[in-house]
């Protein structure tokens, strides 16, 4: 067993919440921090444009440069402040501060100065933060050390929304616990105002957020009990006043004044954006049901658009007329993933808990949220501490025609409510439609369920804490004589009143294994006969699965007493067993392999093995430090032909797994990484040809042809650099409406596609032309083939040389997107082009 260096573990990009959505200047762009990068989205199309990458740790804050509205500052826990041109995604400058930074503020008045939160003590347990002003030195260098720190205050809340700049940067307001401080820059003086912790009505007065009016001397503060206070006349310590408004029933998470100061926006856990009219007392507007709880609100500088970020990894773009005009949704991050990770057999999307009461479908290929399926179909009440229905189990049948879900409520209290629902796939609407609702499927909680794996009959088996397992079948009701068929119970089984925990069907669905604590019972689903029982005491069986394909005669089980057992079902005897603590057992549906995650001494190891032999195929020790409970094999679109032994198990499907910190991780092989790198090189384009779909499809077709021509030639495997004849380039670059008539162009085009018989190969331009023409014509002469290859490889070298100099970097997601486009088959187009001459 060797730990291979080829398999490389990387963190999958999209699973982290938006820390702060801040400032989006021309209302075209929204910037938000996301992990160690800042992402730029378009407000019009809701598409991800690019991300600003360069920080080595969590990005904690962003702020627009007041001097130049096309630039943005970002600060990070790695101790640097970076200045970006966010439209083109170019890093302009890096200022090295040297301390971990937690928030950044800028003001118009203080040019060249940024205000930062830094931790006072090295240990962050104390949570003592300091607000410092940093003068950014002006120098032409890329990396500058900024050491001119001056402390403004040390009474700072760790919450970055508890600090705000007042009118034109005259003062800065910051709050901590029950104290509001206002620091006037001109007077260099701090005024403090404090509230009592609780009043008669039991209000919690701690500050949660602050916003300052842009034109008026007014500070709005949000409080833990949902009150909003508007402070005025705070220039005097004694004669200050405040007015209180109360609508939120829980803590106000965020406050924001519109740029003109006419309105105040507030948001909290209720997921209602409230717009208060400034100076009009209690007049307010609501925008309810936006999604998760609102974490942050910001407005564009012209006040045209508002933007809210939500706890479920979502940004909502709202017009000033209080209408939602766009939603940017990442992988929905719920409180917990209660269902298993699943793959929808139709769309190959990853399915897991999404919004409360929903299942989300997430395309891993395109890294995009597809849709949410409403399972509970009830109004969600945004209220802390309320026990709501939550989807706890879900399963797909093998064709993706049926989806079974279990929703549960009242886990904490004694009266448990749960509903088993079966959903049928509707071809017309392309989504799942509720078919059957079973309210009292069992008398106690359903522990596990699975569909039979045969294509002919669909059967669902559920096991519950009431000591029974039930088989559900779809069948037409003879009495009602309706076309629609519903699901009904076919069989109830139990074994000595023991509690069943897991159930699994064999690969051909001829056997059903249900384990009752220590005992595994094997049933025949046709006759419902108990065939045999298997047992390996001591230790309760924790996980159970059948082998697939050639190993379908094996049954694998893990027990709580650190045992992994494999039975041969033909002999009903234990084939092998090994002592390993397994937290999750995941079989690959497309191969014999089974992945076992073992959690021992505070780190997780991965073993991949075939049931037929006790020796693992692949071992990865110390993979991560958290326990892993959810994993899934995702079938690849096209199998890799990786000949490396240690990573062969990844050829047909990819393993994704979810840690306890809700990070979704995957294994990628070295070849994939290489391909990604090479593709980024490949996709670098010389200036003469724009990246059009035409270019991509032509390139792809060329690649295919080349493969056909030289199947064994490794050098030719790489695609051609783009070369176009001048005519075609011109044709493709000129706008259509200024082009002459097609009849005029036709002859030109045809002649450009003809094989030139000059044969001169010294002129590189000519060379390119000729090679391209050869590519495009199927019926080329045999003898020119070798020559062409030779010239190809030459060209390749040349091209790559030139590429290295001006490599505009493409982000990974862009590469992926391009790869996807390349994969889609546009060869029919080239067929058309070919047929023209």
């Amino acid at each position: 067993m060797k730990i291979t260096g080829l398999s490389h573990l990387f963190k999958w990009e999209n699973l982290h919440n938006w820390w702060l959505t801040k400032y989006f200047f021309p209302p075209l762009f929204v910037l938000c921090t996301s992990g160690d990068s800042v992402k730029v989205y378009s407000t019009r199309t809701e598409e991800w444009l690019h991300s600003l990458q360069g920080h080595t740790n969590q990005v904690t804050g962003i702020a627009l440069n007041r001097a130049n509205h096309l630039q943005v500052y970002s600060c990070s826990a790695d101790g640097t402040v970076k200045l970006w041109d966010f439209i083109d995604g170019i890093l302009i400058k890096t200022f090295i501060i040297g301390y971990p930074l937690f928030a950044i503020y800028v003001s118009e008045k203080h040019d060249g100065i940024v205000f930062l939160h830094i931790a006072m003590d090295t240990d962050s347990k104390n949570e003592c933060f300091q607000l410092v002003a940093v003068h950014l030195p002006k120098s032409a260098e890329q990396e500058v050390e900024a050491k001119e720190l001056s402390a403004v205050s040390s009474r700072i809340s760790p919450n970055p929304s508890c600090t705000a700049f007042g009118r034109e940067g005259q003062y800065i307001a910051f709050a901590r616990h029950l104290q509001l401080n206002v620091y006037f820059f001109r007077k260099q003086k701090t005024y403090s105002f404090s509230l009592k912790a609780t009043d008669k009505k039991g209000a919690k007065n701690a500050f949660t957020c602050i916003a300052c009016h842009p034109a008026d001397d007014c500070i709005a503060t949000g409080h833990e009990d949902g009150k909003i206070r508007l402070w005025r006349n705070f220039i005097h310590t004694k004669e200050y006043t405040y007015s209180t408004q109360h609508w939120h029933h829980n803590a106000v998470n965020t406050l924001c004044f519109t740029p003109e100061g006419t309105n105040l926006l507030s948001g909290g856990i209720e997921s209602v954006l409230v717009q208060w009219q400034y100076g009009a007392g209690n007049r307010k507007e609501f925008l309810p049901r936006l999604g998760g709880s609102i974490l942050h609100v910001s407005t564009s500088s012209d006040g045209q658009l508002f933007c809210t970020s939500h706890s479920d990894n979502k940004i909502t773009v709202i017009e000033s007329s209080f209408k939602v005009c766009g939603v940017i949704q990442g992988l929905v991050k719920g409180d917990a993933v209660l269902t298993d990770l699943m793959i929808d057999p139709r769309s190959k999307a990853l399915v897991l808990n999404g919004k409360p009461g929903h299942l989300q479908f997430y395309s891993l290929m395109r890294d995009k949220h597809l849709y949410n399926l409403d399972i509970v179909q009830q109004e969600y009440i945004y209220e802390a501490g309320l026990d709501q229905f939550e989807v706890v189990k879900a399963a797909f049948d093998i064709n993706g025609y049926w989806l079974a879900t279990v929703e549960e409520r009242g886990q904490k209290s004694s009266d448990l409510e749960f509903v088993l629902k079966l959903w049928a796939y509707d071809e017309r609407t392309q989504s799942f439609v509720l078919n059957t609702t079973i309210t009292a499927a069992h008398t106690d909680r359903i522990i596990s369920m699975c569909f039979s794996s045969s294509e002919e009959t669909t059967m669902l088996v559920t096991t519950a804490e009431d000591g029974q397992f039930k088989a559900w079948c779809q069948g037409a009701d003879a009495d009602t004589q309706q076309d629609q068929s519903f699901w009904s119970c076919e069989f109830v089984g139990s074994y000595h009143n023991l509690k069943p925990t897991n159930c699994s069907f064999s690969a051909d669905s001829s056997l059903l294994a249900v384990n009752f604590q220590e005992v595994i019972t094997i049933w025949s689903p046709d006759t419902w006969e108990l065939l045999t029982t298997l047992c390996q005491p001591p230790g309760v069986v924790r996980d159970l699965c059948f082998g697939r394909l050639s190993c379908s005669k094996y049954l694998i089980a893990t027990t709580t007493r650190n045992l992994l057992c494999c039975w041969n079902l033909l002999t009903c005897a234990l084939e092998w067993s090994t002592s390993v603590e397994v937290s999750k057992l995941q079989p690959d549906p497309l191969s014999e392999n089974v992945a076992a995650f073992s959690y021992q001494s505070k780190h997780t190891d991965l073993f991949v093995f075939k049931p037929s032999e006790p020796r693992p195929l692949f071992t990865h020790k110390n993979m991560c430090s958290e326990k892993i409970h959810r994993a899934v094999f995702v079938p690849r679109e096209e199998p890799l032909n990786n000949c490396d032994e240690s990573s062969q198990w990844l050829n047909r499907s990819q393993l994704y797994f979810l840690t306890q910190n809700m990070d979704l991780l995957t294994f990628s092989t070295a070849t994939e990484e290489d391909r990604m790198l090479s593709s980024s090189k490949r996709l670098v384009i010389d200036d003469s040809v724009a990246v059009t779909p035409f270019y991509l499809l032509l390139g792809k077709h060329r690649q295919q042809q080349q493969k056909l021509n030289t199947p064994s030639h490794p050098a030719a495997d790489k695609p051609q650099q783009p070369q176009g004849s001048v005519t075609i380039t011109e044709l493709l670059h000129t706008p259509a409406h200024v082009l002459p008539a097609a009849s005029v162009l036709c002859s030109m085009l045809v002649s450009s596609l003809l094989i030139s018989n000059t044969g001169v190969r010294k002129d590189p331009l000519r060379e390119m032309e000729s090679s391209e023409q050869e590519m495009n014509s199927e019926k080329e002469e045999e003898h020119s083939e070798e020559e062409m290859e030779a010239c190809d490889s030459q060209q390749e070298l040349r091209a790559q040389g030139s590429v290295d100099e001006v490599t505009p970097k493409l982000s990974k997601a862009q590469e992926r997107e391009l790869k996807r486009i390349r994969k889609t088959d546009f060869s029919w187009m080239t067929g058309l082009i070919d047929s023209k001459p």
Partner: protein, 528 residues
């Protein structure tokens, strides 16, 4: 953004009979018309000619009733003793009847005096019928013989004495004038062929045969006797097709509906059962007394049932016309046309379409729930109409309030009147297995909230008293059910394990939980 999701009213199937098209068809009869006769009604026969008058044989007379009249339009009273088995000829002009003294009389429908009298039987003749050619009469008698008579000459053509007991059932073939079927108390059903002069087929029914019936195709034969109804396949040489045991007393009569050939059987247990084509009971008519005879009019227009206490009960089919008159009486709102004006307008090609946002219409209680007015929502759900005709809506709102954690708030602060409303609703529905869980919870909360003030209102106190009584009774019943379950369990444990599995399959209802919760609430009530 996502719009408000209205409260879902769960569709919970009612326990018991399922509503099918067949049941709807058979339910579609008006309430029965009762006509008192002088004695037990032994035979009812519908005339094959419209307007389908029917002859009712009871005591010493035969009455002929029109389809909608309650008074007989004609009666034949010239019987010295009890008359039996009055039956029409195929053209509806002649009627034949046997009698206790053994005489068979033939009447003209318009006449009053018997046209012919067939003498020969020595004992009572319970069954008479015309053969399908209309010129011969066949009779079955208690003297064990079965005789065929010639109508024009009134002479006996033949006498068949193959039965060894009273002949009480007879059915002539409609397709062949020479065939008829008899059933006897000697437990046999025989098919006679006049051409051979003897029986050609004998079936063992196993019980005294009360009635035989041929399907119109005459491939199937129905015989009733004892508690059994048996269907025989004549084409397979009299093989038993199905044996039905749905009555718990002797099945005395059977008839076939003319729409779809559904079998109806009547029995001494006062039930008429309707079977579908796969011989499952789809409907059940209840009567006041034991049923002796039954007939159904062509096109199932009317169902006449004769009983031992001499009451003839006739059910007429309800027609759409009747319903329309009912609905037209109801007040009509503004016409639908107003709302769909311009619905069929097809936009032209270059029209610019301004899409109108689809407005979500919410029920009143949903509107109130949307604005978190929980008490008002509960009030709306407890309005008289909703409460009485759609209790599931009321319960759905209660469940929704429970889910929101505001049920207690909604129930609190009520006056006597609204509390009475709630308690009445509880009394009515607390034992409906669909609603009992949420309603028991409501009961608990009401007790908690109003414990101190109950004694101030005698009305509420009385209602609570009743609730306690009812709950106590229910708890007792559940206790008994559990005992039965225990007995059954011991019985089944002595059987094979396979049977045990089957038993579990047919009893998925958790009785024990329910019982426990019921008894806990009743204990609560009794505390007060």
């Amino acid at each position: 953004m996502a719009s408000f999701k209205p409260t879902k009213v769960p569709f919970l199937p009612k326990l018991g009979e399922k509503v099918t098209e067949e049941t709807l068809y058979w339910k579609n009869y008006k309430s029965p018309v009762q006509i008192k006769e002088f004695g037990a009604i032994t035979k009812i026969d519908f005339s094959p000619l419209p307007p389908h008058n029917y002859a009712v044989t009871a005591s010493t007379r035969i009455h002929i009733y029109g389809p909608h009249s309650q008074e007989p339009i004609r009666s034949f009273t010239r019987f010295r003793d009890t008359a039996y088995g009055g039956r029409f000829r195929g053209d509806g002009k002649l009627l034949v009847a046997g009698s206790e003294e053994g005489l068979i009389r033939l009447f003209d429908i318009s006449g009053r005096v018997a046209l012919r009298q067939f003498k020969g039987h020595t004992k009572a003749v319970h069954m008479t019928s015309f053969l399908s050619d209309g010129f011969r009469v066949v009779s079955g008698s208690d003297d064990l013989s079965c005789r065929v008579w010639d109508v024009p000459s009134a002479v006996e053509l033949s006498s068949l004495t193959e039965h060894t007991d009273y002949i009480r059932a007879l059915a002539p073939s409609k397709l062949n004038p020479d065939l008829f079927v008899t059933g006897s108390y000697d437990h046999t059903v025989k098919v006679f062929d006049m051409r051979s002069g003897s029986s050609v087929m004998t079936m063992q029914h196993g019980h005294p045969v009360e009635c035989v019936l041929l399907y119109p195709s005459e491939a199937l034969l129905v015989s009733t006797g004892g508690r059994y109804v048996k269907v025989w396949d004549l084409l397979k040489g009299g093989q038993e097709l199905v044996s039905l045991k749905n009555h718990h007393k002797t099945v005395t009569c059977a008839c076939l509906s003319s729409v779809g050939n559904k079998l109806l059987t009547g029995s001494l247990d006062r039930h008429v059962k309707v079977y579908n084509s796969s011989y499952k009971v789809v409907h059940n008519f209840d009567c006041d007394a034991s049923i002796l005879s039954m007939a159904i009019a062509p096109d199932d227009e009317a169902l006449a049932v004769g009983m031992t206490n001499g009451v003839l009960s006739v059910r007429h089919r309800r027609h759409k016309k009747d319903k329309e008159t009912l609905t037209s009486r109801r007040r009509r709102g503004p016409s639908y046309q107003v709302f769909v004006k311009g619905k069929n307008f097809v936009p032209r090609q270059d029209d610019f379409l301004v899409s109108k946002p689809v407005k979500q219409y919410l029920r009143k209680y949903d509107k109130q729930l949307k604005s978190f007015e929980v008490s008002k929502a509960l009030d709306t759900a407890l309005q008289t109409w909703t409460r009485t005709s759609k209790p599931d809506v009321t319960v759905a709102v209660i469940i929704e309030l429970k889910r929101r954690g505001t049920l207690k708030n909604a129930l609190a602060g009520r006056n006597e009147e609204s509390l009475t409303k709630i308690l009445n609703f509880l009394l009515k529905h607390i034992f409906d297995p669909r609603f009992s869980r949420p309603l028991l919870m409501v009961g608990d909360i009401v007790l908690d909230l109003y414990q101190q003030v109950f004694h101030q209102s005698p009305v509420v106190e009385r209602l609570l008293q009743r609730l306690m009584e009812v709950l106590g009774r229910e708890a007792e019943l559940q206790q008994e059910l559990l005992q039965v379950l225990g007995i059954l369990d011991t019985l089944f444990t002595s059987l094979t394990p396979r049977k045990e599995v089957l038993w579990e399959r047919c009893c998925p209802m958790p009785l024990s939980n329910h019982c426990v919760s019921v008894s806990s609430v009743s204990a609560d009530v009794s505390k007060i």
